[in-house]
């Protein structure tokens, strides 16, 4: 067994998940492929969204994959970092907006 939880080589084995459940695995990969096709958003725009989300969900596989994907699509490092900040802003905003819940609770039970 690997002594670390994350191994870069595991990303290459992603499709192996179909080995233990072909039907659901295939459905997932069909869906995944379709999602990233050119649509109302370009594949380039989708790549930036994916990069931001990769950081928010803290997935090292996804960060590697969508940094490379962005480079392939001509995304600049400035665009990549702005996307990461968008993700970070939403994530920290999501934490901070709970501050209102804290304030509500505080006010309700305080004299």
């Amino acid at each position: 067994m690997s002594k670390t939880y994350y191994n870069p080589d595991d990303l290459k084995k992603f499709s192996d998940i179909t080995n233990w459940n072909k039907e659901l695995g295939d459905k997932f990969f069909d869906y995944y492929t379709k999602v990233f096709e050119e649509g109302s958003l370009t594949a380039r725009e989708k790549s930036l969204v994916a990069l931001a989300v990769s950081h928010v969900v803290k997935c090292p596989y996804c960060i590697d994959a969508y940094t490379k994907d962005g480079l392939q699509r001509g995304v600049t490092k400035e665009e990549m970092m702005e996307a990461v900040h968008v993700g970070a802003a939403i994530e920290s905003g999501a934490t901070l907006v709970h501050g209102v819940q804290m304030m509500n609770k505080y006010n309700k039970i305080s004299m």
Binding site: A43, L71, T76
Partner: protein
């Protein structure tokens, strides 16, 4: 940023034998990855044989005013290999006797060959359907003697193909050298001004995109759309087609892959993207590459690896139109660069 050629640096990879040794060793020798020959055999595509000769690609010399980080030619200002008038005359004689569609002139900077203009005019007297010059753009801005090149190109109905790895200064200059982006934009404007790349004009200006790093190009049409949008909106520049070319692991790009510890991952990416549908359309099937000193190669990459054609006739002086040069195309692991994904050739994707 690269300032000197591998040749000038006396880098071990300036020697083609060392490159070939490296490409056959390591991950290919220990069986981690299959050799290109093995992959061709597995997909019933071995041996590679030429089809009909449609494109003659002539390398007019390795001298160039740029030293690009990915250059497979290891071209630069210090390279002295230049095609002589005697060899150029042999090329003209061959051209007269062959029925080829395209003459593709490359380098280095082909314009730096002192006989360049004379040769173009002689070619046009013979006439070919498509006369390509692979211009690096900045040569037009490099020296007063080159500033009239756009007029010369248009007067001779030359099809211009130029490299542009990105629509931003940083990414372009990182690959092609400081100041290359701004000068390329100025040169593109000059070409547009004489009618190149403009709708309804017969003067064709195509751009070549090479990835600026250890990754493969994505869909050529999508890249073309993005380049057209960005170059039009930001610089009012027009061009016809974008060709996406995969960087082959030879010369300076191989040096970069090794120095940055990307070699094994890059080769694995190329091997896993092998697409058998590309093989029948590979450029080595319909192209013959002629080096500055008149030797014959299956492609420009094989020329740089000094893999002369596998045929008793190896030099242009011995090549006549009645010889089909039937042979097995010479291959090594660098060939995976042309068979990955949608494939790659000097004319862009192939599948």
């Amino acid at each position: 940023m690269l300032k000197k050629t591998l040749n000038r640096q006396k880098n071990v990879l300036a020697n083609s034998k060392n490159q070939l040794k490296l490409l056959s060793g390591g991950i290919f020798k220990n069986g981690s990855l299959p050799s290109f020959k093995k992959t061709l055999k597995k997909t019933k595509k071995f041996p590679l044989k030429p089809s009909s000769l449609e494109i003659l690609q002539i390398n007019l010399g390795y001298m160039c005013n740029q030293v690009c980080a990915h250059c497979h030619v290891d071209a630069g200002p210090d390279r002295k290999e230049i095609m002589t008038k005697k060899t150029l005359k042999m090329c003209l004689n061959l051209l007269k006797s062959l029925d080829i569609k395209t003459l593709d002139l490359t380098g280095g900077a082909p314009e730096m060959n002192p006989h360049f203009k004379w040769f173009i005019e002689e070619v046009n007297k013979i006439g070919v359907e498509d006369l390509i010059v692979r211009s690096n753009l900045t040569i037009i801005m490099a020296n007063k003697k080159f500033e009239k090149l756009p007029d010369f190109f248009s007067a001779n109905n030359i099809h211009i193909i130029s490299s542009m790895p990105h629509w931003t200064k940083t990414k372009t200059d990182n690959q092609r050298g400081e100041g290359v982006f701004n000068n390329s934009i100025k040169a593109l404007k000059k070409l547009n001004n004489v009618g190149y790349g403009i709708t309804n004009s017969n003067l064709i200006l195509d751009l070549v995109y090479n990835p600026s790093g250890a990754f493969l190009p994505v869909n050529q049409k999508i890249l073309e759309r993005d380049f057209k949008k960005e170059l039009k909106e930001n610089f009012d520049i027009n061009f016809n087609n974008l060709m996406a070319i995969t960087n082959l692991p030879i010369s300076r790009f191989l040096d970069f892959l090794i120095a940055s510890e990307n070699y094994e991952d890059y080769m694995e990416a190329l091997v896993s993207a092998y697409n058998p549908k590309t093989v029948d359309n590979l450029m080595c099937k319909n192209t013959l590459s002629i080096s500055w000193d008149g030797y014959l190669y299956d492609c420009d990459f094989n020329q740089m690896l000094e893999l002369k054609i596998n045929h008793p006739i190896k030099h242009i002086r011995d090549f006549t139109n009645n010889n089909k040069l039937e042979r097995d195309i010479r291959i090594s692991q660098h060939c995976y660069g042309c068979t990955a994904g949608a494939g790659s050739s000097c004319q862009g994707t192939v599948a």
